[in-house]
């Protein structure tokens, strides 16, 4: 590893950062999450904490830009130079800049995170079938308002699960209109515009007015890229137009004709020969998470490493594995020392009831999921019932992401979303994170937090319950009315609970107990069903009452799981533990989840 001349480093440990603007390539919440995870890499091996500010001066200012973007070190268009950052210090020192002529993703192609709809923000599934036809990108088919949408499973006709795709008709980024969608047509400098434009700007960003008259109201926002948007070329961000004419031939997909580098491109009008408007079609793109983790290494004082596998190696290479190499860890700990275990926190005073506020306080680093206020029942034929609750650029004011927060400290969590035993270890899940509880010689020790999205990328942030099938080692995850089944890295889902034979009235599964013979008891409120894991069907849709088999346990538990052969029913902060006998199951212990099960101090 290498540090900068003079071993430039921050003299304080609680580092602050601010995201100055967003790339149109990614939904803002995905950008925020990628930056938070990149910082979490460094805080997991040092005493450093990272706090996100939404205004004012921050140690690390993050911005996207193109070509000459204000610091005298111009970017160079698509590919080549991806980003740069400055060593620790005042002013521009410590800042990180990302070239927005690149196509920013999470390294595996466009991230089309949906909003509204009924799929809890699940990503699009391409291709998908709708009315018997296959779609490879978002579509406005089936709608009268032109809003692009997609199915979040392979077959919309069967699963009816969908969400709306990033588009300027749904929201805008940054600007001064709180993320309101564009209004078309709008007037600007006396001219009428029916689409986003770069007019009036020199940085190539596409924008629109959020009222009919910009000259009068001066309200605007930047347009998010659609999934068919091109990168680079002379039409950055414009969607492909299919079919288009090129050299008097018609093309209905991207092509590499006319080029020697093999890059796929398309026209952004219906006739390239006439208009010569074009751009590159989307490829796997560059992982904003990995590039940000590298740049933040610079912002903390690390120069380039000559170890090819190290994160601080100058050249980009995509990996899904843990990005930090021992060389990176040695380098950053040379500057800041290793992570000091969080001081044992005394149990907090009267625990807050989990509510939306508690949720966001309890786990501040992950930006709030932007949820429609209206019921999630709007279907492609109806417009979303309400706009997004928070502007995409809005962000809570001070967001400690340090290791001392409940978000990182398993003992600071009041109520877990889900608890289960996987490969003999207790796993506790909370708001996009999870911990593994390892039974050591000196009692249980929590490992983590880890990000759910890093291990099981198809899952939503909030889970209701999960279980591992002891025979096949398949992992079943439940959230709302959906279920995901992981076999190793491959996943089936999300699928609706009805696929398991459950009644549509069942809103969520809150617990699961594995039984002999490939059966699992699924719990919801004070009822349960017997699931045949092999058939993935319950033996009857009629539920059994809990008290018939488990007398003395609480009504309406928020979690039920099997651990080390005992059954646990959780309500609020407590658990009721039962030993399973053939005749009657008996409660043999009642205790606190955090103190008696996780052995928090």
């Amino acid at each position: 590893f290498l540090t900068f001349e003079g071993e430039l480093k921050w003299k304080h440990q609680n580092i602050t950062y601010r995201v100055q603007n967003y790339s149109p390539d990614l939904p803002p919440e995905v950008t925020d999450d990628a930056f938070a995870r990149a910082f979490a890499l460094w805080s997991s091996v040092t005493p450093l904490t990272f706090t996100r500010l939404s205004s004012g001066d921050a140690d690390i200012l993050i911005q996207f830009g193109t070509k000459e973007h204000g610091d005298g070190y111009p970017f160079d268009g698509k590919d080549g130079l991806l980003a740069h950052a400055f060593p620790p210090g005042p002013g521009i020192q410590g800042d990180a800049h990302f070239d927005d002529d690149e196509f920013w993703t999470l390294g595996k192609g466009a991230v089309i995170q949906t909003r509204f709809g009924n799929a809890n923000g699940a990503p699009c599934h391409f291709p998908f079938i709708f009315e018997g036809r296959s779609y490879f990108s978002c579509t406005a088919e089936g709608r009268s308002d032109g809003l692009p949408w997609c199915s979040t499973t392979a077959n919309y006709d069967i699963d009816n699960l969908y969400g709306f795709c990033p588009s300027e008709l749904l929201y805008t980024l940054n600007g001064n209109a709180n993320g309101d969608p564009c209004v078309f047509p709008f007037t600007f400098e006396g001219r009428s515009y029916t689409a986003c434009t770069t007019d009036g700007r020199s940085d190539g960003y596409r924008w629109c007015a959020t009222t009919a008259n910009y000259d009068q109201d001066k309200l605007y926002g930047f347009c998010p890229n659609r999934d068919t948007a091109v990168t680079g070329g002379n039409s950055q961000g414009e969607p492909c137009v299919f079919p288009f004419t090129f050299l008097n031939r018609e093309y209905s997909t991207c092509t590499n004709e006319g080029r020697t580098d093999g890059h796929l491109w398309c026209a952004t009008t219906d006739n390239f020969d006439r208009d010569r408007k074009w751009g590159f079609c989307q490829d796997r793109g560059y992982s904003l998470f990995l590039v940000a983790a590298h740049e933040f290494g610079h912002a903390l004082g690390l120069d380039h490493s000559s170890v090819r596998e190290a994160l601080m190696f100058p050249m980009y290479s995509f990996t899904e594995g843990p990005p930090l190499h021992p060389d990176d860890v040695k380098g950053i700990q040379y500057l800041y020392g290793s992570r000091t275990e969080p001081d044992p926190k005394p149990p907090t005073s009267a625990p807050l009831e989990p509510d939306s506020t508690t949720q966001s306080n309890a786990c501040p680093t992950l930006p709030p999921i932007v949820k429609p206020t209206g019921p999630p029942t709007s279907r492609p034929s109806e417009p979303p019932t309400a706009g997004p609750t928070g502007p995409p650029t809005a962000s809570p004011s001070v967001l400690p992401t340090g290791p001392l927060d409940p978000a990182d400290d398993v003992c600071g969590v009041q109520i877990f979303d889900a608890i289960t035993e996987i490969q003999g270890q207790l796993h506790v899940f909370k708001n996009g994170r999870y911990w593994r509880i390892q039974q050591g010689s000196k009692g249980p020790r929590a490992q983590g937090p880890f990000f759910i999205a890093n291990t099981w990328s198809a899952l939503p942030r909030i889970l209701d319950t999960a279980f591992e099938d002891p025979l096949t080692k398949k992992l079943f995850f439940f959230s709302g009315q959906q279920v995901w089944v992981y076999t190793g890295q491959s996943v089936l889902g999300p699928r609706r609970l009805e696929k398991l034979g459950l009644d549509p009235k069942v809103h969520r599964i809150t617990g699961a107990i594995q039984r002999n013979g490939g059966k699992v008891l699924l719990f919801s409120q004070n009822q349960f069903w017997r699931l045949d894991v092999k058939k993935q069907k319950v033996d009857r849709s009629e539920p059994y009452p809990v008290e018939s088999m488990f007398p003395g346990v609480p009504e309406n538990p928020h979690d039920v799981f099997l651990y080390q052969g005992k059954v646990y029913f959780c309500q609020e902060h407590f658990f009721w533990r039962l030993s399973l006998h053939d005749q009657v199951n008996k409660v043999d212990q009642v205790g606190y989840v955090t103190y008696d099960l996780l052995h928090c101090p």
Binding site: E5, D76, E102, R249, E257, G258, W278, R308, M315
Partner: protein, 90 residues
């Protein structure tokens, strides 16, 4: 039947707005070595040895075979996507 390609192979066109890399490999390499701190601009044209020395330094940093030559592996590495912070010096 689809129209055959024009006799002299695929038609290559100039795409408007695209950064054309008219630089030779040698010119591209000199620009790269200067941009990432391997050789100060002034030293570039003085003599071949400084180029050879700078190439060796780059090849060691990027874990390439150290030849001091502008070989294909080195050119490919120079064209690969990377961070803009110089590898050497400020």
């Amino acid at each position: 039947a689809p129209r055959g390609r024009s006799s002299n192979g695929p038609v290559l066109i100039r795409f408007p707005g695209e950064k054309m890399n008219n630089l030779t490999n040698q010119q591209f390499a000199e620009e790269y070595l200067n941009r990432y701190g391997y050789i100060p601009a002034g030293l570039l044209h003085r003599d071949g040895s400084s180029m050879k020395h700078a190439l060796r330094k780059l090849q060691r940093q990027l874990a390439l075979p150290v030849t001091g030559e502008l070989d294909s592996a080195t050119i490919a590495a120079m064209r690969a996507p990377r961070c803009g912070v110089p590898d050497v010096g400020q």
